[in-house]
């Protein structure tokens, strides 16, 4: 359950989807940040992190996700999350992350919302 895995599930046009599984600690956060940098440098401006298979994230992992968010804000991009467990959703709510990142219930809803014209 806690083994970290990261997969870029989709990268079409502006949108890229990262599937994250397992415990998001410092090493996992670094891996996510590195992949996000690669995608942003490749021109993607909307990153969706699907955390359906993640049950726990620590504050070091969270701080690295904030680096991804900062990078996206610098290029006028957007960060979104889907598939949050209730405890991770509460953690993000405590941090106020919904002010800067979209929180969507699942992948299908996220893809629909993020593909919609503004």
């Amino acid at each position: 359950m806690d083994t970290f895995e990261l997969k870029t599930a989709q990268a079409d046009g502006r949108l890229a989807v990262l599937e994250v599984a397992g415990y998001i600690n410092n090493e996992a956060g670094e891996a996510i940040a590195a992949e996000a940098r690669r995608l942003i440098e490749g021109g993607h401006r909307i990153l969706l992190l699907d955390l359906s298979a993640t049950r726990i994230i620590n504050s070091i992992g969270i701080s690295l996700l904030l680096e991804v968010l900062e990078h996206l804000l610098e290029v006028e991009g957007n960060l979104a999350f889907c598939g949050l467990s209730p405890s991770i959703a509460k953690t993000f709510q405590i941090m106020g992350l919904a002010q800067y990142a979209r929180i969507l219930p699942d992948r299908a809803a996220a893809l629909e919302a993020l593909s919609a014209k503004p």
């Binding site: 806690d2 415990y23 090493e27 620590n58 968010l69 900062e70 804000l73 405590i94």
Partner: protein, 140 residues
């Protein structure tokens, strides 16, 4: 089961040792009727307390989990380290807007612990810091 259920752990300074304490939260909390969602919040708080103790403490970290049956049931977790100590009142409250502009984006642990648990007590002096956290079934 009316007697408290107690687990004592000694965590080494090794990567992901905090997950051992998180797993023990289930062992103590599930028999008391805590929901898995509530226990996930407790695990997050315990992980944060252990990470702080491992990062700022010296040597091993001691963790004690006590489950007390009742209405409500109580889950008490103490995390002890032998580091230099700190002044809990001087730890700044993190704000996302400031963190996004700052080079250092860490510093969320204590704030998360306080929001995820019902009671948090911190005793800290040079050589010993103890973070005691309580969550009640149906609390927070």
């Amino acid at each position: 089961m009316n007697r408290p259920h107690r687990i004592n752990l000694v965590l080494p300074q090794e990567p992901n040792a905090e997950l051992v304490a998180a797993q023990a939260v289930d062992q103590v909390g599930l028999p008391l009727g805590f929901s898995r969602d509530t226990l996930s919040e407790v695990k997050l708080a315990v992980v944060e307390a252990c990470l702080n103790a491992m990062e700022y403490g010296a040597g091993v970290v001691e963790v004690e989990l006590i489950g007390r049956p009742g209405v409500p049931a109580r889950l008490e977790v103490s995390v002890v380290d032998n580091g230099p100590g700190f002044a809990p009142g001087k730890v700044p409250e993190p704000h996302l807007v400031e963190k996004l502009q700052a080079g250092r984006k860490r510093g969320w642990g204590l704030a998360l612990i306080r929001r995820l648990m019902d009671e948090v007590e911190i005793e800290s002096r040079p050589g010993r810091t103890r973070v005691r956290m309580v969550r009640e079934s149906g609390g927070n």
